[in-house]
Amino acid sequence: MSKHVLSVLVENKFGVLARISSLIAGRGFNIDSLAVGETEDPTASRMTIVFDGDEKTIEQVKKQLNRLIDIISIQDLTKEEHLESELILCKVSVTPKTQPELVEIAETLKGEVADVGTKTLTILLVGDQAKVKTLLELVKPYGIKEIVRTGRIALTRDNGGK
């Protein structure tokens, strides 16, 4: 089992997300994360879907998705050099004593303190999976209250015309 990142270009129409999610759910495939937004062409949206599964499952998912009329193209980024990023908001317990430490963690990881109150402090961080993981590990001892993540978004890298 390994993680696969699919970048899927779809028609920007109502019902497309439902088609994709019902296809995937109907076949018992498990989605790790799914992020979607409009592209440079307003009639198309790009979805980044992260799956957990073996090669055979992923092959089937790709073929089945390709069957959908509203899907324009599918790229399996796992097999290509790509950039990826995720945004996380992480609300952590805070005391006057721990506040400077948490601010320092946020700054070290190039995140920012998005909100601060008497009992909690919220860190906003943008980064790849390693960076997000590091943040979570570092703040864990302070007590994580709530987390929200956008899911990964990804694009191929410019490979210099190779």
């Binding site: 439902a18 088609r19 019902s22 296809l23 092959e59 089937q60 073929k63 069957r67 009329i69 324009i72």
Partner: protein, 562 residues
């Protein structure tokens, strides 16, 4: 010219070459029915929307053209569901038009509202909700294009009342351009793969050609026959492709799978090369997948990339249109100039055939259902078009009728829909008016859409329904007897007097109780122009053999109960 949405729909159907539609009116499609009132388009009023969907499907299977059905919103549309799922499982091109509540009421739980696009999403190739009348013509064109190309399938177009009523200037879209759907990309098979396949075929010692519905869909009868005759290899078909190669010729091994002849399943299981042409390694064919035909190399020709490698790993996948791929394959085999030698293989197959012929016990006073099919086969010699329901009768028809022409055995292969036979027969008869159409049914199945007898009688269709009546849900009874310790839980079903019911609908009815009545009765009704229901009261203990028990390998068949 300014036209209403409903008129635009009718105009588009005409331009798509539609000559008949099957439908049922209701609140949300009334504007469409108003436009149909004086339209030059034949409309067949059904008695239940499920019938309309099956008729469109039967029409499509009999002709190869797209079948069209029409229903109203809510219950009208949900009644289409079984018919659409049936067409979807067997990749049949159908366009279903449904009325929808006014677009500003959608989501308000309006009277007769249902989320039809949501409901039919997993059982259609694609569906549309038309929210702008300016997109209506374009949508209808796309629906027909999607339904009929690539791997065909049903497409539903949901049209709200206000869209049908809105008036705009009609513009016929000349071109269909869908950027996410390019079926022509998958038409030509890969050259190198075809060469590989050709080489494997002439070098094989024990090949079997295994053909499915995709070959019928691709109109590849001629090519399949040429290929088989060129190399002299044994050919077996699924029930979706019966008749693509004449079963009275020596190369035919007839149907394979759960109820295929034992010799055929042995041949598949012990072959060294399996050439799958437009079939899908369905579980009714493979039995237990892990032990399926373990020593064979496998070639798989299919237009749908997703069908290849889905359940069985193949050695030479060829994505392409069967007809085009076979043309190239035949050329390539001819170019190899090597006459394959399958003599030993044929000797082995003939030995199996001699040892395990398809047969049934002729003992006892009761009428044997298989006998009815033998007589029908003898009387008609393949010159009929048969639709079936689902169960024992469906399998006996595969086993005991000799199929010699494609598109003459029309059945719900994938979904296994009881109640399919009669409406499919009606659709098929409209599509092929000159064919003698027979609906073969069972006492359970026939009642499921019996109301369509009224439709058949309305149009004076000379359809003959033959019911193999054993007072049981026969296949359920067979499984209960064989696999559930004879606990016949709710499988006994009291049938009505079908002959009388037929008369009530305005058709003709007759009951057959004895074997000696079969031939004269069938001879008589086959000549008659009226719609007949022939109720054959059969031996309830008769079972379909051989049978591959569920979860077993295909060479672990049970041959009989002795």
């Amino acid at each position: 010219m300014k036209m209403k949405g409903a008129q635009i729909l009718i105009e588009c159907l005409k331009r798509e070459g539609v000559d008949v539609i099957f439908g049922y009116p209701g609140g949300a499609n009334l504007p469409i029915y108003d436009a149909l009132y004086d339209a030059p388009l034949k409309h067949i009023l059904v008695r239940h929307e499920q019938g309309a969907a099956h008729m469109a499907d039967g029409y499509a299977r009999a002709t190869g053209r797209v079948g069209v059905c029409l229903a109203t919103s809510g219950p009208g549309a949900t009644n289409l569901v079984t018919g659409l799922a049936t067409a979807f499982m067997d990749s049949i091109p159908v366009v279903a038009i449904t009325g929808q509540v006014r677009s500003y009421l959608i989501g308000n739980d309006a009277f007769q509202e249902a989320d039809v696009c949501g409901i039919t999403r997993p059982i259609t190739k694609h569906n549309f909700l038309v929210k702008d009348v300016n997109l209506l013509a374009q949508t209808i064109r796309e629906a027909f294009y999607i339904a009929g190309t690539g791997k065909p399938g049903p497409v539903l177009v949901d049209i709200p009342v206000d869209i049908s009523q809105a008036e705009i200037e009609f513009v016929w879209p000349e071109k269909v351009e869908i950027r996410g759907y390019k079926p022509e990309r998958f038409m030509e098979g890969h050259r190198g793969q075809i060469d590989k396949a050709a080489k494997l075929m002439v070098e094989a010692k024990k090949p079997v050609i295994y053909v499915g519905g995709g070959a019928i869909m691709s109109q590849a009868t001629e090519e399949v026959r040429e290929l088989v005759d060129l190399i002299g290899a044994p050919i077996t078909t699924t029930c979706m492709a019966l008749g693509i190669y004449p079963e009275d010729k020596p190369c035919s091994l007839r149907m394979l799978g759960m109820h295929g002849a034992a010799s055929t399943n042995y041949a598949v299981q012990y072959s060294d090369l399996l050439v799958n042409i437009g079939a899908r390694f369905d579980d009714r064919v493979t039995g237990k997948v892990e032990t399926f035909s373990p020593k064979s190399k496998k070639i798989h020709i299919d237009i749908d990339p997703a069908s290849i490698g889905k359940s069985v790993q193949v050695d030479v996948p060829i994505v392409g249109d069967v007809k085009r791929v076979l043309k190239e394959l035949i050329k390539e085999i001819k170019a190899l100039k090597k006459k394959p030698d399958y003599k030993e293989w044929w000797d082995q197959i003939h030995e199996w055939q001699k040892k395990h012929p398809l047969s049934y016990s002729k003992n006892g006073a009761k009428l044997k259902p298989q006998y009815v099919l033998e007589v029908l086969s003898d009387l008609t010699k393949g010159e009929i078009l048969m639709t079936t329901d689902v169960g024992q009768h469906q399998m006996w028809a595969c086993q005991f009728y000799r199929w010699t022409r494609p598109r003459t055995y029309i059945t719900s292969g994938g979904l296994g829909t009881m109640g399919y036979g009669l409406p499919a027969a009606i659709g098929a008869q409209f599509g092929r008016p000159k064919e003698r159409v027979i609906c073969l049914s069972g006492d359970g199945s026939f009642v499921m859409n019996i109301q369509e007898l009224a439709t058949a009688v309305d149009h004076k269709l000379p359809i003959k329904t033959i019911i193999l009546n054993n007072f049981y849900l026969g296949m359920v009874r067979q499984w209960q007897e064989m696999f559930y310790k004879k606990r016949f839980s709710y499988s006994a079903i009291r049938p009505p007097d079908f002959a009388k019911v037929a008369e009530g609908f305005g058709a003709r009815g007759v009951t057959i109780r004895k074997a000696e009545e079969v031939r004269p009765t069938l001879e008589k009704i086959l000549k008659d122009k009226e719609c007949w229901v022939v109720d054959c009261l059969c031996d309830e203990e008769e079972k379909v053999f051989p049978i591959i028990p569920p979860g077993k390998a295909i060479d672990e068949m049970i041959m009989d109960m002795a």
